[in-house]
Each structure stands twice: as C-alpha cells, then as structure tokens.
Symmetry: C2
Subunit: 228 residues, 2 copies
DNA sequence: AGTTGGTCTATTGTATGCCAAGTTAATGTC
DNA sequence: GACATTAACTTGGCATACAATAGACCAACT
C-alpha cells in the first residue's frame, strides 16, 4: 500500500492569544484618533475579554505590555486609560528620533552598498515636488516610509525597533496638522539633499541634514500643534 | 465637639506583588554574571513562586516584562531562559548609546545652565589620571556615572530611560575587560575634553567628542571582547 | 438641607486548577 | 545491546474563582 504523498505545507504555529490580543488592541487604539476628543478613554479587561472571546489572562498580559510601551496606563482598581502624550513627551520623542536617524544616516554613508542607495534615490524621486501638491494626503505615509527606509538600511535592528515605537506615537497625532502642504514640499527638497549627501558618501553632511530635518519637524510641532 | 487633628502621614501605597517580583528577579539576574559560564540559565515559574511565597500570576507578569525588555526569553512549553546578548547586539546597543548621548551633549551645550556644567567639571576633575591607575576598579562605575550625568542633564527623560536599559545590558559584560586600565586612562582625557567643549558651548565639538568616545568603546568591544 | 457612615458595585490584583505540548526515563522488541 | 515506543513528568498558556479596594449611592440622623 503506497503512502499518499500529500503536498502539505507545515501548519504555521498559531500565535498565542496574548499576541493576538496585543495586536488587536494596539491597532484599535491606533485607529481611534485618540487626540480627537477630550474625555478619558478607558479600556475594560472584562469587556475586551468578552468581545474577543478569550479569558482575562491573555488580555491582561497584552495590556501590561501596552502599559510598558507607554500606550496605556494601568491604575490599580480604577481602570486602564489610553495615554495621550504631552507636548513635552512628543518633543522628546522626536529628539530621540533625530538622534537615532542621524546615526543611521552616518552608518549608511559609511557602509551601505550602492544598490541600497539606488533604491533610496528611487524612493525620493518617485515623489516630485508638483505631484505632492496634489496628493498631500499620501505624502504623510511616504514621508514615514522614507525615514523608515533610511533606518532599516543602517543595518542596526535596535534603531528600527526603538523608532518604530516612536513613529507609532507620533503617527497618532498626525491629523493635528503635522504634515501640512508647505512642510511636505519642503520635506521633498530636504530628502533629496539627504540622498545626495549619502550618494556622495559625505558622512558628516548626511548626518547633519537628517538631524536638522527631523529637528525642524520638532520645532514645527512645538510651534503649531496644541496637545496638552 | 472638636474634631481630633491627628498628625498622621498618608499610608504609602504598597507596591504590587508584580513590581516586587520584577525587582527581585531583575536584580538577581544582574548579580549573576551571566556571561561567566556556558550552560543555559533557566528560570522556573513555579520555583520562583514558591521561593518568593507568592502565586505564579505576578511572577508571570514580572517575567513577561523582563521578556519584553530583552533580559529573558520565554519559550512556550520549554522554559524561560536568561538571555546572553550576542556581540552584534552589544555592538548595536553601544551604537544607539552613542547616538543618544551625543544628542544629549548637543542639548546640554545649547541649554544647560552654568551650575550644571560646573558640577560636570567637578565630576571629571575628581578622578585625576594618576589616581585612576591605582583604583581602576572604581573607575568603571565612575565612568558610567559620568555618562549618566551627561544624559540626565540633557533634560530629556526619554533618553535616560532608553540608555538605562542599555547600560544594564552592557554592565552585565563589564567583567569581560571592557574597562581596562589603558582605556580608563584614555577615558579621563576624553571626558575632560568633552567637558571643555561643553563649557565653551561648542555644540558640534561636544557632540562629536561624545560620539567618538563611545564609538571607541564600541570598537574596543568589537576587537577584544569575545561573547558568542 | 447637609452630613455621615454604611453598603453595593465596578474594576483590577492574585491564587489556583487544568490543558497541551515538550522532555525524560522506563520499557519492550528485535 | 540498540533502538523504537510509551508512560510519567515538566512547563508555560489559559481559564476561572476569589480577594481587595476605589468610588458611587443611599439611608438615617442631626
């Protein structure tokens, strides 16, 4: 009797309930525009447990993780509150972002291979200045994408890891006019200069341009975004 | 009838079992010199629960936090393993450290008041070059202290928060000859130059010196420390 | 009407039991 | 004796029950 050779793929391991709960809650928070209204936003363990159809334990573990990452705050016997970052905290986050991304630019200009740099050039050329005027909406994501590309190319996963968290927080306030038209236009110019510096392997210049570019965003937020 | 005015202080809130378990386990790991031997170091939920006299739940929450911070790794149905960082990971951590501390130096040279800078000068003067030859042992901590002072003075709590985690990891391998005599001597010189640049409010120079100083440590580890 | 103490409810913290999936040791077969 | 098989044990994941406390509500009393 021949043994049937079923062409089956290995069953991918099911992620733990904790992991799934974590993603579910986190993405729900991201889609919420938490800075839109003023009232305190609360999470309810048991409510989530019922809606997700699992027990409180994995929910608690997921929420505990979100607490540690600074997305929610657990107050014993009172509740779990979604955190709105203060202006000072956003300010600090963008500062850290600037520090890490400028280091990434430094690493790239020293170590990246030409293929990567070509791809970076393609990314920035894709958005010419007049196109952007029409579709600023898309720009916000393209902007983030450019920054993430630089960071990934640095070959330092830890930098990616840290900045991913920062981007998440910053993205939550994007509708508060962070990436407006004039800034978008100016950003394209900055990005082109950055790529040019990297292409020229001018480490110091690349680092400085990246830092200044992000610090300009910081100052913009400082000046125009109201949060507290 | 008068109301008695009892002179009482508010009852300080007792930290949760989770928080206490977290500190207990973390400090135990720190004191362990995990890089000393080769065997896999495992944690046991039930064992800890018995030894600490509490149930598994707060233990699990504490361990989950340590897992997220990168101190242990939870492998389902196998065990909880204390993590030894690879050389590449240490390398990345020091890179991030350099990026953040050089940003801190930048912020200080722009914004710190003269009192703070005086204290920084005192800190570095305290360890003259010949003293250090005698007590290199103490130097390691004084070294870290100097760096932490710079970071704290930056006025950016987020930078402190991130680097604290990095320091914890790096400290775990300090006995692996990271801070040896010749390096210690050279470090003092570097530190003095850094303070001088800050005193002169020379932002670019301060940033560069701090970065280069930490990157030298990175290269030193790269060259002399064996981990994997 | 206002205050005061009790009670009830909502909500998180903790303990404990069970389960599925590995690990290890014992056992049986050749 | 070597190897496959199975049984016992380990271990983290998850569910559930109970405990503790903050805050709302309420009734009684002044």
């Amino acid at each position: 009797m021949a043994i049937a050779e079923l062409n089956i793929a290995p069953i991918k391991e099911t992620p733990s309930l904790k992991a799934r709960a974590y993603r579910a809650i986190k993405s729900a928070i991201l889609e919420m525009n938490i800075y839109a209204d003023e009232t305190d936003l609360r999470l309810d363990e048991r409510g989530l447990s019922q809606r997700l159809g699992i027990s409180r334990t994995p929910i608690r573990e997921a929420i505990s993780q979100l607490d540690q990452e600074g997305f929610v705050r657990i107050v014993p016997r009172k509740g779990i509150y979604i955190i709105r970052k203060t202006k000072a905290e956003i300010h600090d986050m963008i500062t850290v972002w600037a520090a890490l991304e400028s280091m990434a630019a430094r690493l790239i200009s020293k170590g990246a291979d030409d293929g990567d740099i070509k791809r970076l050039r393609a990314l920035v050329d894709q958005f010419s200045q007049d196109e952007v005027a029409a579709k600023t909406g898309e720009y916000s994501d393209a902007n983030i994408e450019f920054h993430q590309a630089i960071i990934r190319m640095s070959g330092c996963p830890l930098i990616s890891e840290i900045t991913d968290g920062l981007f998440f927080h910053v993205r939550a306030i994007r509708h508060r006019s962070i990436f407006k038209l004039d800034r978008a236009r100016r950003s394209i110019v900055d990005h082109k200069e950055i790529v040019a510096a990297i292409e020229a392997r001018d480490t110091e210049r690349a680092e400085r341009l990246v830092r200044d570019h992000t610090m300009k965003l910081r100052d913009h937020v400082e000046q125009y975004v109201e949060l507290d």
